[in-house]
Symmetry: D2
Subunit: 414 residues, 4 copies
């Protein structure tokens, strides 16, 4: 008998009506002869609300108490969904992270899973029951309640799917799948039927908001097939699966799958740095020590023994990054530090570009033909990212989406 893990996010279970709709879907799946394990997040924005009230109440917020507090959200949701399933004649039991066998390290508020002892869940499934597991929670090796952090329910779902050898892990959310681009920017963006783990990871890293990157990595590493889909329309969404074997020619393999963008970063440039070994290592160690998330890095070729190093970092870490760089100016013989907040990144992602060397050229030509200047370039095996002016990035997304013919025919009047 097939086994599916169905994970429902907060908006999917935001109110009693939605809770019953989710129970109805789970019951249908079960009636169709598929075993189901449910993973559930806190209702609506409850996790946000709990964190906020903690901030209102306390400025110290010990981790042990935070995790006791925040995990109450999933406890409520899992108990309620179990009740709703009982109403539909489905034998269901709620399980906390601890009861479900999630053993974590002791890093409160952002714990890591160290083991999944899924015996109770497996026994419930074998008995024909539907376990409803509270997402994003576990018990630490110190026997305290722990929370896996924001987006942790996705990880719970993938981990339990792996532990049980489930056929697929369905991640239900409020969008109907993964799109070729942001439909707000590109009116003819198209939902993809399938995408590879690697492509989705590149997309998530460059602006596509869902699902949580950590869970996709977990799924890729353990070969857990994902299905990203909507709990509002219930239509089929996007399958996330291993890339097709490159040996086997797939005529329908698109060269480019998606165009993403990100406007949350700034560009910082350290100019006139002495071009000698260890300079970059020194700089980026200093930035890492300040918990600054550096993304793209570009170093120009040396000109008379000096060079410029540019990198991007989140906009809200820009000030900290500038201060860190300035503290190194003297030591690195640099001539100055500048920050530019008005940049954005556009990326094309596609596993097919590995075997199509002309993709980069097409990207650059397309941007040039539209008078969009490229300020930085970074590539991986399946992604090309360009930094452009922020006020040109939506145009850049649109023209690249058109250039690679990702659209689904003419869009409706907007």
């Amino acid at each position: 008998m097939a086994l599916v893990v169905q994970k429902f996010g907060g908006t999917s279970v935001a109110d009693p009506e939605r809770m019953r709709a989710v129970a109805d879907h789970v019951a249908r799946t079960k009636r169709r002869g598929t075993d189901v394990v449910v993973v559930i997040s806190a209702m609506g924005k409850e996790t946000d609300d709990l964190i906020r009230i903690a901030h209102d109440v306390s400025s110290t917020r010990p981790g042990r108490e935070m995790d006791m507090l925040v995990t109450a959200g999933e406890r409520k949701a899992m108990a309620l969904l179990s009740m709703a399933l009982h109403d539909l004649g489905v034998e269901a039991d709620s399980f906390t992270g601890s009861q479900a066998g999630f053993i974590t390290d002791t890093t409160h508020t952002n714990a890591k899973i160290v083991d999944v002892r899924a015996d109770r869940i497996r026994a419930a499934v074998d008995a024909g029951r539907v376990p409803v597991v509270g997402g994003a929670q576990g018990v630490s090796t110190d026997h305290d309640v722990t929370f896996l952090g924001r987006g942790g329910s996705d990880t719970t779902a993938v981990a339990i799917a792996h532990a049980l050898g489930a056929d697929i892990c369905e991640l239900y959310t409020d969008v109907s799948g993964v799109f070729t681009s942001d439909p707000r920017v590109v009116l003819n963006a198209r939902k993809m039927e399938r995408i590879s783990f690697d492509e989705l990871l590149e997309m998530t890293a460059t602006g596509c908001p869902k699902p949580a990157m950590r869970s996709v990595e977990y799924a890729r590493n353990h070969g857990v097939r994902l299905h990203v889909r909507s709990a509002f329309t219930w239509e089929p969404g996007t399958l996330v699966i291993p890339a097709p074997d490159s040996e086997e020619p797939d005529m329908e393999q698109a060269i480019i799958s998606a165009v993403t963008h990100d406007t949350d970063e700034s560009k910082i440039t350290l100019a006139g740095v002495a071009d000698r070994p260890g300079i970059a290592a020194h700089l980026f160690r200093a930035l890492a020590d300040q918990d600054i998330n550096v993304d793209m890095i570009v170093q120009n070729t040396s000109l008379e023994g000096h060079t410029d190093i540019s990198f991007t970092a989140p906009k809200d870490e820009t000030d900290k990054a500038v201060v860190t760089c300035e503290s190194l100016v003297e030591e690195l013989n640099a001539t100055g530090v500048t920050a530019d907040r008005d940049i954005a990144r556009v990326s094309v992602v596609g596993a097919g570009m590995k075997s199509h060397p002309g993709v980069a050229a097409t990207v650059f030509e397309t941007l040039a033909a539209n008078s969009i200047n490229i300020e930085m370039i970074s590539t991986s095996a399946i992604r090309i990212s360009c930094v452009v002016r922020e006020d040109q990035v939506e145009q850049a997304v649109q023209v690249l989406h058109d250039a690679f013919k990702l659209g689904a025919g003419p869009a409706l009047v907007d």
Copy 2:
């Protein structure tokens, strides 16, 4: 310059994050050169919450106070969206129903629009501003605040679109459009690009939940084009437009557009009624006097001067209907009253059936081939409805959806 009315329902603006996402979309539309008038519902389930708290506080609930209470929800939402638009550099102003010129009758909690004096809204649009109108509200001819009832924001949107001569009225919700069938039941149900007013009205009347029927009727009667679409994925949805002129042959006109179903009705039968004029009139007047919503009606041919009359009514009105019928048994010389709650209705809807006389035969043959017995039949020009056993209705929907090839290719693994 084009003018669009954009209406956002409760789930679209359920929290601050969603409120900002909506503002972003409005701002993008405005930046693309289209004038926008926004109509907004109360946030999330606030209208439900307000009605519930009124029930908790009071058993009398005078209408004037209820409308003062309930309309507070839209006031909050419209003020917040106006603020969010200001943040994006869009000049916006909130307008209550009264300020927007909605004059209604004095039927508190379910008022009818009697006039829309849209001068202030038009002036704001002409001045390059975005008016944000509180949905479902107006001012009565007695100068009291009134509420248009549940789903009234759709009506507000259509009415203001008509009053302003807008090019289109976009109804944003949490689903991505109108589907050929319920995707929970039919895994390969497909979102339609367009549908006619008449078809949507038949669908809404037979199980398709959105949008509010009253607003679709208003739109049809005044020729206001609708676009039903998602505020979560922002992808194009379903256009609702007048039916194509039948003179003009449209090769792509589907014979059948959708298969809907409804499990909320019962069948009541009054057996052995004397077959003489006025009997049916007498019966259904009595039911109407009890506020029973009779839907389908079937009367068998007379057998020796007696006949059976069957009708369907909402499940929660069944008891009342039975009592009413029983009170007439003697007077109508009937032999008894029976009620059957385990029935359901399946309907096929399609403007194309007018010119394709074989549709009914296909429906009956398909159900018969699948051993699904038909208990009642009812038809309109563009709809065929059959009452079947409730536990067979989902199968009926699936086989009819297959028979008319409404699906979009193979569904993904569920």
Copy 3:
């Protein structure tokens, strides 16, 4: 070192500001050199809200899931208060009912405490820490989470106070103590400095709303001194203590402590019953089997072998009681059943009446002098209750309060 248990009810911790105010009070108590164990209820009306959402979601509501759901409220509150205490430099730890050692039976949603193994709490206190215990919860002998029912936090507080041998158990609420009568009815009602367990139990049984009767019984049975006081004004409230030894003359012992009333009952009369042994037993067994909470019972003296039996029961159980009585009319040779919903009960309570035989006479004379007819009378050692017309009960309360001089001087203008 003194040890106090401080219990805070829902309104006391309804929002972050109140949560910090409570933490401030706990910290002050600790700084004054008293050890503190805190018991905390869910914030505000959260328990009500959780039960309501369960009703919205499900009609079956299995007990195991209900208790998992409802106890989430106290988990949140206890974590938040622990955080707030940390902010004030007080080392605090939250404890679930299970962690605090509350072992209960398996009666979900209304479990009974079978053991309190308070070792962890005692160890925390000995280490100079403040344990913050989630109220109204435990773990069943089947290892499931259990809920003690509404008002269960009071019981948790008294039980932990008993288990630890605390000097006093303070019950903080939104009223400032126990009053001589309902201040809404008697404008010069006065807060009492102290009252005996027995008196408070009689008061609670006859209309005084707080604290939960079950916890007062627990306190009386185990000799736990209570202090009912306000978490809003923080002024001293009312001590609940054992009655003074009757041997020892206490000059200040008031004859009457309080006048209470109750308008939630009806009077049911079974008339003309045969006056033979076992009749009453038969009747009240039948009522008990229907879970009808009979309160006062009066049987008239027999007249020619027949008598009337009258009793009071909650208004919302009246219909059920009448049906039960009617089913016995034939068997008991009764002549009929009548119900009267327009009655109310007024009670005077006071330990001093044991040694002052004239109290009853004063009660009857006072009511008579004010033309208030008495329909039923019932007495205990320290209480006299009279059933009167409902529209006279507030006057009855006032004149009795005056007759026994319970007021505190002239009331302010109202």
Copy 4:
């Protein structure tokens, strides 16, 4: 017939149960033959919640939209209370600030009342009805909805009481009156039966939290008698009335009414300032220009032409005050600026001190006898304030409360 204005704050009407309790009290007052006008705040913390969600949604928050948003809270509350009153047979009508005749200036979010045209309210009262007025709101001379700011409902109540010539204005809250000191600090603090406007203003200015100072000033200026009392216990609270005529000897006039304290201020000292005319004016003009709320000011006598100027300001304005002072150091020939955050103020307030010159001496002696050093002194006709070390202020409050015998006998065990 007497007329009373009853104002209910947020915690008084925080949930449906409380709303019905308030309606019950209003109905009782009306039944006792007193006409009532109700003024009501938003339920619980709703105003805070609305302001917070506005911050979540927008960083610009135009005043017109903020006032539209925030006043929705009182609309809900007033409609609900009107419904609850109808249930009790009391004819009630809700009125917005605009409908009630509150004309304000155009200062959004903190509007000032410019006129109260109470004709509709008076007509409703004359018709035997109970008007329920939304607090803290009005309509501006520009016809926009305005909000009077936090605590504005108190002002609404006092203003409508003045406009109608009401006999008294009752301010219901969650505390039972005005106390001789903070009961959290002084265990035997005592609720006062009455206090004069001037004393309450001094108390409010020096740490007593309620009611809003602006409304007390309005009441004093217009001779509106106030009654500060509890909507939880309903017991009589504290009357706020004009001071007794000093000609008429009042034997019971206490010399000192209350001891208050405040820990929210810092002391800033500008040292070695040249002692010449205009220096202080220059300094405090500069501070005023920065919106710094200076409270106490002390200037030492000159020593060789130089002096120190010390003042207190709110702790969270300390940094700004220091920067402002530092910018003046050179110009004023000062020798430096120091800030001390670890100070607090203790104040004794009492109209009787005017005729008892020894009060100040008693204050100083009492503090000295307890080794509490006084760092600054400031007096008004009816108040003496001393700045002391923050960690000694609670002791200072206690010993002064004892010295003036303000307590009500021995406190209960805490």
